[in-house]
Symmetry: C2
Subunit: 423 residues, 2 copies
């Protein structure tokens, strides 16, 4: 966090004048979600004309065009393995969405239980709960809400979740069945879990025998800094501590190649993989293997992926730098806001004065800018302090982004001043 500090303030009159000027521009800008820009997508443009020709057999001798192959093609499982630290035999490559694979794990545990469950999660007499690190990823929380899973907020610290709190919760409450984690360049704070945090998650005793860590490694190879932050392998640490089935690992190529047309993976213990495959066979004859082959032929190797991701980084870095620069210029020294300078991922977390986050979004909306849903990074969409906002600077071009950031800064100041006047 870069805490705003100093004393250069603007008068309420100046801010209101600036707000009216922005309003008169008649803008329509939407930067609400973490979407790769057209320039980033263009990096994988070759995928659209990549021809398989007559070379449609997979590395394990399967006709990629025909039915079958529930676990995905060998070369795709092999490509993901070093990225997520799980043997290729324990990886399933599915369709275009890792979120869908998380959902299926949750839905299957809900209706049938995990391999370690006494009863399906839906049948637990007192209901079940998940730990949600806050601020966190809204789509994870939305799933829990839809299933009627109780959510317990635990704050994100500098090196990952507050593990003292997590440890004490899971040790004592058998209704806590899971935890949502975005362990690297976390959404929205950009935090990478330290080796100690990963070790604590892998080793901690849990009251529930069927406790699961939903490890959404969405930004496994997505640094913004020149040096990538390492993340310890959760699976192997869980295995060491005799909790191999605790780890459910997810990743995808959505933010490497084409966001809508990538491939997603699920990695876990052999028992969990068997459980997955048995359920998957009921749902479908198998994933789109042709697209998997196409993706692998384009991505080639982990080294080539790193090269591709460096090109993404070059496109993304100036946008994240611009966030910091504009906020420094406009908000630095006012003592009313702080923001993250993430070393990777897709988001900046902006902390404004308590009780003003909703108002900031409302003010921005009045100028034609949609940039955040206040509360969306918290369970049930409720930020108890009404102070956190998520920014996604990836999609807009620099000029538009700069304008958007100036609007946000103005709205942050105006909301703060309006509040002072009201009090």
């Amino acid at each position: 966090m870069n805490n705003a500090r100093g004393d250069k303030g603007l008068s309420k009159f100046e801010v209101d004048t600036e707000y009216q000027r922005l309003k008169s521009l008649g803008l329509t800008i939407n930067m609400a979600r973490g979407i790769p820009s057209p320039a980033q997508i263009q990096l994988s443009q070759a995928l659209l004309s990549l021809s398989l020709g007559n070379d449609y057999m997979t590395a394990d001798g399967v006709d990629s065009r025909n039915y079958g192959g529930q676990i995905g093609v060998l070369e795709a499982r092999r490509l993901f393995a070093p990225m997520v630290g799980i043997p290729e035999s324990q990886i399933v490559v599915g369709g275009n969405s890792s979120l869908a694979m998380m959902y299926e794990c949750l839905a299957q545990a809900w209706r049938r239980g995990t391999p370690d469950s006494q009863v399906p999660w839906s049948q637990e007499p007192d209901g079940i709960a998940f730990i949600c690190i806050v601020p966190g990823y809204d789509r994870h929380f939305a799933m829990c809400e839809d299933f009627g899973i109780r959510m317990i907020s635990v704050p994100m610290l500098q090196d990952g979740p507050d593990m003292e709190r997590v440890r004490s919760l899971v040790a004592n409450d058998p209704s806590i069945k899971g935890i949502w984690c975005v362990p690297k360049y976390s959404n929205p704070t950009g935090t990478t879990y330290s080796p100690e945090v990963v070790e604590a998650l892998a080793s901690m005793p849990t009251a529930a025998a069927d406790f699961r860590i939903f490890w959404d490694n969405a930004y496994a190879v997505h640094p913004l800094a020149e040096v990538d932050q390492p993340l310890a392998d959760l699976y192997s640490r869980c295995e060491v501590h005799g909790h191999a089935s605790r780890a459910l690992i997810f990743a995808s190529t959505s933010k490497m190649t084409l966001p809508g047309a990538g491939m997603a993976m699920f990695g876990a213990s052999p028992a969990n993989i068997d459980w997955w495959v048995k359920a998957a066979m009921l749902r479908s004859v198998g994933p789109d293997k042709v697209n998997q082959v196409r993706q692998v032929r384009f991505l080639k190797s982990i080294e080539n992926i790193e090269y591709l991701m460096e090109q993404h980084r070059v496109l993304l870095k100036p946008k994240f730098d611009r966030v910091d620069q504009v906020f420094q210029e406009r908000l630095g020294g006012l003592g009313i806001a702080s923001w993250t300078r993430p070393a990777g991922g897709y988001f900046v977390s902006l902390q404004v004065q308590a009780g003003t986050a909703k108002r900031v979004v409302e003010l921005a909306s009045g100028v034609g800018l949609t940039f955040s849903s206040p509360g969306s990074c918290f369970p049930y969409g409720i930020d108890p302090d009404d102070s956190q906002l998520r920014l996604a600077p990836s999609y807009p071009e620099l000029d538009e982004l700069t304008l958007a950031l100036e609007i946000i800064a103005t709205c942050v100041i105006k909301a703060s001043l309006d509040r002072q006047v009201a009090h």
Copy 2:
């Protein structure tokens, strides 16, 4: 059905000798499932090198490469519309599997209920039931079994399900929430529902307000005869009778283009589509739109699809003719077997003497031929008469198919003779 008739028999000695000869060949043939042959897949080979180039925008102006577009691209919805008789605005195009879309409808009704449900299907105090037309599609029945949904068998007649039985069941039992239908060139009997049957399904009163017809139109454009059999539009008939939300329509391009890499659709009333989209948004950011655009650019139009399907027909027809020919030669006139001569679809249903179907499969397996799972076309895998077998002649080449059919015929005769001896 072509009933075997006549009097040309073989002695038990002759049949046993033939069986031993077949056994000595050391064969391994698997024709258990309805899989398109390599020659059929080759018809869509151009898909593997079809380049989108820089033309990646959809008909409704969306970047197919990026996130979003939960209902699928306009041109894909437009392509399916005339095939299934539903407006494009009421069609969702998803991933590569229509089975997955059926599963999601079932899972969502189970966990949350349909738009017309008082409570989720899983919360009905006495459980729920589905009507299963027999013989039918094993994957439909497997889903019901997994969910713990009671299955009520209703026989398939010449023109569709026994509607007197269906009507009486659904009128009186509010726990009956659905019926599985493969309405055209049905799996495995090849039956196409008559307009009267479709009308009866659309108009019949049901005790359950949230009754649903799972209309798996897998063979919508898959004739084997020169003239395609028409199928009445279920949706519009349901609408006429004030039951618009009763119809859940599914189809895919799996058996038009590439079986593993096609696109699937779900069509239904606006209320059902809203219900679907709300659930889908929880699961994923959207389907693979790039593949949808690719499929549409390859398939082009309904007229072009018909042209493509005619090429499929030319490849499939000789195989189905061969089934009839070999069975006529070997089984005709023996009075121990009858079989269908389907006008479309992927299967032949073989009726053998009661109590011998399992034995036929066992004998064939002893010779190295896997061709059918006895009972698989019935709920819980139990054929009460042990007399029905499903054949899938699409995959093997003609020579191998002929050999397989000769083996099956020999096994049918041997099982029948063995049984006579035993009695």
